[in-house]
């Protein structure tokens, strides 16, 4: 019971409560957006917007405005540019992504250089997050932003699935493909910039993707994948905060490491399950295509 005692001990401190709440909200909401990004094969977009967010943070330092808002503006603008590039020019998704990686980092470092008195150390705080120094107002922003993002994604799930799975079909069936694409990117931008101060750019993009790719090895439907990924994100984030408190290490990196470990472990498990399933199938096997040759009769 020693562990139990120390556990409650940690969460007597308000900063630990705040850390836990922010991590849980991000853990729950990020996969709700991430499932569509994985479906669209844009798993790295969260990271790309994270790099752009650095430029936003630096603009915040430079102008003295709250970095969260400058980041929000910069990432939303970047996602609009990215979507326009993708749909109206021959730039492919991964080229646009590459430009975001390079431009974002360079912009961030350049602008922080100009505002050198405000310190590059601050930039690191946004990269890896500082769950433990977040104030209640930041926790509230995360909770409200997270709830809005999750509700939007849950309500629009069928439409977003359609544009992410088969954009051409969605276009022919008359769905507002451009608007929905933009909405998805903007939601990603909001998720990244609202949660980065507390949990870090590294962590939020990992939480967009890791829970989804972990659970999709075992699920059969999109709906189940979405809900179980949200649950898995919650668990990974919660475990990470508790584990980091126990060892007194940064929560952001602990959460990501736990996520990666869980993914590797489940991937191994999935390989075994698939072998078992091949023997005991959950559904009817594809009906045998009729033999279109005549087997030679035995003499």
């Amino acid at each position: 019971m020693n562990l139990d005692l120390s556990f409650t001990d940690y969460f007597q401190y308000e900063f630990m409560q705040r850390a836990l709440i922010s991590a849980l909200v991000v853990g729950l909401c990020a996969p709700a957006v991430g499932v569509f990004l994985v479906q669209k094969r844009l798993a790295l977009i969260g990271d790309g917007l994270g790099h752009i967010a650095l430029t936003g943070v630096a603009i915040g330092f430079l102008t003295g405005a709250a970095p969260m808002w400058t980041t929000l503006v910069v990432t939303v603008l970047a996602s609009i540019v990215m979507e326009l590039l993708r749909s109206h020019s021959k730039t492919s998704g991964d080229v646009a992504l590459a430009m975001m990686f390079y431009g974002g980092i360079a912009g961030g470092v350049y602008l922080t250089g100009i505002a050198s008195d405000k310190g590059v150390a601050n930039l690191q705080q946004y990269l890896f997050g500082s769950l433990l120094t977040a104030g209640w107002s930041e926790v509230w922003t995360i909770a409200v932003g997270g709830a809005a993002v999750a509700i939007l994604m849950l309500v629009l799930r069928p439409w977003l699935t359609a544009i992410c799975a088969d954009e051409q079909y969605a276009r022919v069936s008359g769905l507002p493909v451009g608007a929905l694409n933009l909405l998805l990117l903007i939601t990603t931008a909001v998720t990244v910039s609202v949660s980065m101060r507390a949990v870090g750019l590294l962590l939020v993009s990992a939480l967009l993707v890791i829970p989804v790719v972990t659970v999709q090895q075992f699920t059969r439907s999109f709906k189940t994948t979405m809900f179980t990924a949200m649950g898995a994100g919650l668990l990974i984030a919660g475990t990470g905060v508790v584990a980091s408190a126990a060892r007194d290490v940064p929560p952001g990196s602990t959460i990501v490491l736990i996520g990666v470990l869980v993914f590797v472990a489940t991937a191994a498990l999935a390989a075994v399950t698939r072998r078992v399933r091949r023997i005991r199938r959950g559904h009817l096997p594809p009906e045998g295509e009729p033999l279109e040759v005549e087997l030679p009769a035995k003499a």
Partner: protein
Amino acid sequence: MPVLNVRGATVSYGGRAVVRGADLAVEPGEAVALMGANGSGKSTLIKAVAGLVPLAGGTIELFGTPQKRFRDWKRVGYVPQRTGAASGVPSTAAEVVSQGRLAHRLLGMPPRRADRDAVARSLAEVGLADHAHCSVDTLSGGQQQRVLIARALATDPDLLIMDEPTVGVDAETQTALATVIADRIDAGCAVLLVTHELGPLTDRLDRAVVLADGRVVHDGAPPRPVGEHADPAHEHAHPHANGDTADDFWGGR
């Protein structure tokens, strides 16, 4: 009034005209095949009709409305050229087919009984009712193709556009699909079918339009197989039967 009226359509890719001044009309309840060799421009023309590639010249009217102003896309069922129904995140057959009902639903509203019924009905039509809750990536290639056809049928279309729906589908399934499509034609649905082979689906055709090098070279009675091709045992070998989306072996279109 034709459900589809294409006049002088020209489509070019990077300055090279792939479709040159093609005319194509489909009357209500009519079944028309768009045929031609690989690279003749038939898939490109169909993509232009679906609004996926822009026209360089000519006009397209759907249900009497110029395509640019046409908003009633739920009257059009579209089966894309085989890309496989599977994608990054697992989806069940029922989930993929229900995409065909989204145009009937208000954004953000849950499905109504009519939507759920249409999904169940079209899955049953293509013989996949038992597989509704199976992940599409565990289905065979032919079954995935049937899922895509069910998705188009779920729209309750007045015009069904199918781009090579039977590539990689075995003969028995082709016959079953032909029956499903024939039922829809009898119910008044117009069909535009892109194909480069004659098979069970082409038996029910009213008309065939043949493209060669981007131009219409025949518009009238569907061609009948002759010689060796008339032999029911004759088998074509298709370079992209394994799901390659390129129109010919060399990767061109």
